[in-house]
């Protein structure tokens, strides 16, 4: 058995049992059986509640300047949880401008980006012009030195009466335009507010009209960044870069090298808002115009600067795009002379595959290290896949893939009888193997045995996903039902995602619909009810289509290339019908747990944050249709002709918490979907108060508070001078923890987690405590003021928001100080009592529509 000899890898391979069914076993595989190392998380629960202890800050605590307070408050006001969504939709519409005109993106090579940019310009220009005109109008109105005479109501009136010519805008353009108006409004309000407070409080600032003029200069670069995101060229670590800006302003310690460990298949769009908001805030607090100009120009070129930095770190290597590298690889395999090793071809393909997975792998390996890894991996992989490269093997392989996937995929006629798809499967296996190697760093390269083990394990999974089941040993097949993942679209500008060849016929029973969670931990039942108008208390027949993301996948693009009822190019917002195929969902819906993949909390929060290799499903249900209510577009209830607003699919329940340490305020906003609100009102009208109370309790306790407690990191906005990130999820995972040593001592020698973990724990406990009060407040509200809720539900808008806010909460100042200590790495002194002694009665507001702060 000498077929593995050569390339110096025979010993490693001899140990390995391949996943392929037709290769005889050499030896039992040695599996890495690392003990599940218990991390610091185990110690965490020993950290007692912050409400029973106080960390008193010793001596020279950080001086909180009023500017810092105002700055973070303003950041909080600017931040709009849905801004990224609208940027994503804008990018998606931009992409629709060029995608249909491109038959092969890889073949366009260097012409692709200029072509796409040119096509997008036609889309961007009118939007840019209208936005700039709007800002001009506002600047003109709020010029002069009587700024402090305006009150908030006057400002609101001015903005509500502002006229635009946005009639030809697409839904996404309209949404973007509206969001920018809101940001401009926040600037004006804050400018007026600061002008009233005077120079003593915040120092000299520029007049609002000058600031607005500068902000006008940010719109083009902002739209360019969205375009870059659409093309897939937005730097992947824009978010950490953006945060250092705020930290610099606040003179907080910024991590030396910004890093991002999360890899999104389509890049990170959230960074765009963070950078924009921070830049706007910087402008507002700038004393002179020169500094203002430099802020604007920094913003304009930031992405290029980051890109140059990245390129420098990558050693100046700019590999071809993954798509063209893959094409080239397939061609090389096809023309490989019999008997020759595919290793050199793989070596040429790997850099593109690896760099597509930046920055996960990039950060860990130096340029020299990378070449070593590539040579090593290529040698191993060549051995593993070499057997399938000869034409007489590849052709039957292709035939069986086409066989298993004919009905679900719809292969092109010219693909049958060819070996291409067999080679495509080999390329997929190699690419995915790299993707599955969890840790690739200088240390693993030194330890070849460990690296080999990692690679073999990754290879096993990758092969099982991409080869037809009959090629794979039974116990390694990813599903009981035969199927294989195939790249799609089969014909089009480029491959954009994978689809599983098996479509499952299932029945969703009421229990499953409640148990399965979709994005934001929303029960599937809520989705079925709110968006598809189905009754989840009855069994629902469905066909399940499975998709997987590849580098570059945007969920919004999948439906453009599918032709499934309810999920096709004509169906607007079709992509909101995709759900994460978690292990739980796969087990319950398909009885195929191995087809599921759990996703990170960050990805779970938003549909646009999709990682590479994540899986999603679409439910094709006969007769079900996505509801896109016309609520905003008809006449308003008062009979006034309402302004047309961009249509949106009906929304499901949601929650937002805002913890404002600067003002000692906390607010919770509960959003009831139209369906939920309707059923509550129906019960109230029926005098079924108990039933209404049960519905409310279910919505708040089981769904919304559950959603909040599982997603504190992205559902709670924190206003604190030491947390310009606003959300816990934006705080880097590996912040330095110098201060914690001292804390650890005072806490009795317990090793605590990083500062992020401390903060998270703190906020989580705060949220938990307030949640109970919030539920009580809502329950009391319904006893006395149900009529207001009924009134709001009857408005034509989609759903109802209940906002509960507590102000002047005693004890928050103490927590604020603790947070300062944690983040400023100040030494902490003795621990004494720390509580929220009594939570005052809250103020409750009810509004129609989804209105979050």
């Amino acid at each position: 058995m000498n077929s593995y000899a050569g390339n110096g890898m025979s010993s490693e391979l001899a140990m390995f049992e391949t996943p392929f069914a037709d290769i005889s076993t050499l030896k039992e595989a040695t599996r890495s059986n690392e003990p599940a190392e218990v991390a610091y998380s185990n110690f965490l629960h020993e950290l007692e509640s912050p409400f029973t202890r106080t960390y008193e800050v010793a001596g020279n605590s950080a001086v909180v300047t009023q500017v810092a307070e105002e700055f973070v408050q303003f950041l909080g006001e600017l931040n709009d949880a849905e801004f990224s969504d609208s940027l994503y939709e804008l990018a998606s519409e931009m992409e629709d401008r060029w995608l249909p005109k491109i038959s092969n993106e890889a073949a366009m090579g260097d012409h692709y980006v200029p072509f796409a940019t040119q096509q997008a310009r036609e889309f961007i220009t009118p939007l840019l012009m209208e936005t700039e005109t709007m800002i001009d109008k506002v600047a003109q109105h709020f010029s002069g030195n009587n700024l402090s005479d305006y009150n908030e109501k006057e400002i609101e009136t001015f903005f509500s009466e502002l006229e635009f010519s946005d009639n030809n805008f697409s839904p996404a353009q309209e949404q973007f335009f509206g969001k920018i108006i809101n940001k401009v409004k926040s600037v004006v309000k804050k400018g007026v507010d600061l002008a009233k407070k005077g120079i003593n409080a915040v120092g000299k600032i520029l007049p609002v009209n000058i600031i607005l003029n500068k902000i006008k200069g940010l719109i083009k670069p902002l739209l360019d960044k969205v375009l870059k995101f659409a093309i897939g060229k937005l730097p992947k670590n824009l978010q950490p870069h953006a945060q250092t800006l705020a930290k610099k302003f606040l003179k907080l310690e910024a991590p030396a090298a910004p890093e991002s460990t999360e890899l999104f298949s389509s890049g990170e769009i959230d960074g765009i808002q963070t950078e924009f908001d921070t830049t706007v805030a910087q402008l507002l607090f700038t004393a002179d115009e020169v500094e203002g100009n430099s802020i604007v120009s920094e913003y304009e070129f930031s992405d290029e600067v980051i890109e140059r930095e990245l390129a420098y770190e990558a050693g100046g290597i700019t590999p071809p795009s993954l798509e063209s590298a893959r094409q080239q690889f397939i061609n090389e395999l096809k023309s490989l002379p019999p008997g020759e090793s595919p290793a050199p071809a793989i070596e040429r393909f790997l850099p593109a595959a690896i760099l597509a997975l930046q920055p996960v792998i990039k950060v860990a390996i130096s340029v020299i290290g990378r070449q070593k890894v590539i040579n090593f991996l290529a040698g191993l992989l060549a051995k593993l896949v070499g057997k399938y490269v000869p034409e007489n093997v590849a052709k039957p392989l292709a035939a069986s893939i086409i066989d298993v996937g004919m009905s679900a995929i719809g292969f092109e006629v010219n693909e049958t009888n060819k070996s291409d798809i067999g080679y495509e499967a080999i390329a997929n296996v190699i690419q995915e193997t790299v993707q599955h190697i969890a840790e690739l760093n200088e240390a693993t390269i030194q330890d070849q045995e460990a690296l080999t083990l990692q690679l073999l394990e990754a290879f096993e999974t990758a092969a099982a996903n991409n080869f037809p089941p009959q090629y794979i040993k039974e116990q390694l097949r990813p599903s009981i039902q035969p199927g294989v993942w195939v790249l799609k679209p089969r014909k089009g500008p480029k491959h954009m995602y994978k689809k599983f060849t098996k479509v499952f016929n299932i029945t969703i029973d009421p229990q499953s619909a409640q148990a399965i969670k979709s994005f934001r931990d929303l029960p599937l039942a809520n989705f079925l009810k709110d968006k598809l108008s189905l009754d989840p208390s009855k069994p629902i027949q469905a066909k399940v289509h499975l998709f997987e993301t590849i580098p570059g996948t945007k969920l919004s693009k999948i439906s453009k290339f599918e032709n499934i009822p309810g999920f096709n190019a004509q169906q607007p917002f079709a992509w909101v019908q995709l759900h994460p195929l978690t292990k739980q969902a796969a087990a319950i819906l398909l009885k195929e747990p191995a087809l599921g993949k759990d996703i990170s909390q960050k990805s779970n929060a938003k549909r646009h944050r999709t990682g590479v290799g994540q899986r999603f499903y679409y439910l094709e249900i006969s007769g079900a249709r996505l509801r896109i209510p016309a609520v905003n577009r008809g006449a308003t209830k008062a009979g006034k002709p309402g302004k047309m607003r961009a249509p949106k699919p009906s929304q499901s329940g949601d929650i937002q918490g805002v913890i404002n340490f600067v003002k000692s305020e906390i607010s919770f906003s509960y959003y009831f979907s139209e369906e939920d609100a309707k059923s509550v009102v129906e019960k109230i009208n029926k005098n079924d108060f108990l039933g209404a109370a049960i519905s409310i309790r279910h919505a708040i306790k089981n769904v919304l508070n559950g959603m909040l407690s599982k997603n504190v990191s992205n559902k709670v906005k924190i206003i604190h001078e030491a947390i310009p990130e606003l959300y816990l999820e934006h705080i880097g995972d590996h912040e330095q923890e110098s201060a914690l040593a001292s804390l650890a001592k005072t806490a009795g020698g317990i090793v605590l987690g990083g500062s992020k973990e401390m903060l998270t724990k703190l906020i989580e406990q705060l949220v938990e405590k307030i949640s109970e009060h919030a539920y009580q407040a809502v329950a009391n509200f319904f006893k006395g003021r149900a009529a207001e809720f009924k009134e709001a539900q009857a408005q034509p808008q989609d759903g109802v928001t209940i906002k509960i806010s507590w102000s002047n909460i005693q004890g928050m100042t103490a927590i604020r100080t603790v947070i300062n200590a944690i983040r400023n790495k100040n030494p902490l002194g003795n621990i004494s009592e720390l509580t929220l002694p009594n939570i005052p009665s809250p103020e409750i507001k009810i509004v129609a529509d989804k209105k979050f702060d």
Binding site: P629, V681, D798
Partner: protein
């Protein structure tokens, strides 16, 4: 020889003519405006295009085949054979054109965004009405395309039937009349035809009416039996929308006395006089006394059977006596096709009773016509409610029509915004 040559040329010219005509037909996107195509459901659009394309493809294939035959045919016999083929080709072309023309008119009736939205609302109403009955029986609901046309009465081109071109239609095309756009209970009558066709209820009901009205003269059973398909559709509209359907039907058939009392042999429609009274009897049996009593009174006053001397009067009088038994049979007796249940068990008419509708209005409060949750879930009962109010003829009728237009527009805009 010359004759043969000229015959050959003539045939070739004609085949070419029909071939190019068929080729022109095949650019389906040009038949209706882009807007109109966008206004219809994607699935329906795709299915229609596919099936029309198939028909055209068959015509083109036929023509090309004839062309080929012509290339190799020199003798008179062969040319005569081709001539027969040519006649067949003309026929197929014209039938295909007829089919395409029908759908072109239907699709193009979605002229503006608002009309398109109203028709999409009708599509939804039709689909929902069928789902209510078909789903529990485990049957698929066919897609529906509604369109506006002139005239007094609605109609349906059922899915599952052969079209002019010989192909099976996959989409039910329901015509709604201009005058009834905001009072469209008639489309539920039409989907009743579709449902009865799918379940074979017509045949079963016909047998039942023919055999089970034993307390009455035989000709009564025979007459009702012959009207079974229309009675089935009326019953379907009634169980969904109650009095609204009855009042709308009354208004549609109330023409000249000749038309109201006329009896046409082989006409599946009952004598209009009887049809109105049959529908009123349905209300009475399920809802007791109500505005239908007034309707009956005024109807009988307008069309007094004792004052006319049409030949149908005798039959009418016999049938009137049988109405209570007929309703009992139609709505309350089990049928095999309904899984041995009665229609009123599967779709309870009481959900559309005046009391139930009043309750709906009360429970939903002011949000009934504004909240998309209500509109979407209760669109059929909203149709019943508005139709009921209009049917009673009280209150601000203009406002009621406007209200109907508003909620239907909302419903239509909430799917497939284009």
């Amino acid at each position: 020889m010359e004759v043969i040559a000229s015959h050959h040329t003539s045939l070739l010219r004609q085949v070419n003519h029909w071939l190019q005509a068929a080729t022109r037909l095949s650019s389906l996107d040009h038949l209706a405006s882009g807007y109109a195509w966008q206004g219809i459901d994607h699935k329906i659009g795709t299915q229609l295009k596919e099936s029309l394309q198939q028909s055209i493809g068959e015509v083109v294939a036929l023509a090309k085949n004839l062309q080929k035959q012509l290339e190799n045919s020199q003798d008179g016999n062969a040319l005569r054979h081709i001539k027969r083929g040519l006649i067949q080709l003309r026929d197929r072309y014209l039938k295909t054109e007829e089919t395409i023309h029908f759908y072109t008119v239907a699709i193009n009736s979605r002229t503006t965004p608002n009309v398109s939205a109203l028709l999409r609302a009708c599509d939804i109403l039709c689909a929902k009405s069928m789902q209510d009955l078909l789903r529990p029986l485990g049957k698929d609901t066919p897609p529906v395309l509604t369109y506006i046309d002139k005239g007094v009465g609605a109609s349906i081109l059922k899915a599952g039937l052969r079209l002019w071109d010989g192909n099976i239609s996959h989409v039910a095309a329901v015509k709604i009349t201009q005058h009834n756009l905001f009072r469209p209970t008639a489309i539920i009558h039409e989907t009743g035809h579709q449902v009865a066709h799918i379940l074979n209820w017509n045949e079963e009901l016909s047998v039942a009416l023919g055999n089970k009205l034993t307390n009455h003269s035989k000709i009564v059973g025979a007459a009702f039996s012959g009207w079974s398909s229309e009675i089935a559709a009326d019953a379907f509209a009634f169980v969904h929308t109650g009095f609204a359907a009855v009042a709308a039907l009354h208004d549609v058939v109330s023409g000249t006395p000749q038309a109201v009392f006329a009896y046409h042999q082989h006409d599946p429609h009952p004598i209009a006089y009887l049809r109105v009274l049959l529908n009123i009897e349905m209300c009475r049996q399920f809802y007791g006394a109500g505005p239908w009593n007034d309707l009956e009174e005024s109807f009988k006053n307008d069309y007094d059977v004792n004052l006319v001397n049409f030949s149908s009067v005798g039959l009418i009088k016999l049938c009137v006596d049988a109405l209570p038994d007929a309703v009992q049979l139609i709505l309350k007796s089990p049928f095999h096709c309904f899984g041995n249940q009665a229609l009123s068990q599967l779709v309870p008419p009481n959900k559309a009773s005046p009391q139930a509708l009043e309750k709906l209005e009360y429970l939903a409060g002011q949000s009934l016509y504004t909240s998309h949750a209500w509109i979407w879930n209760e669109c059929i009962r909203l149709l019943a409610l508005n139709g009921y109010k209009i049917g009673t003829g009280k209150g601000d009728l203009t406002a009621l029509y406007k209200q109907q237009e508003d909620w239907m527009t909302k419903l239509g805009f909430s799917v497939d915004m284009n």
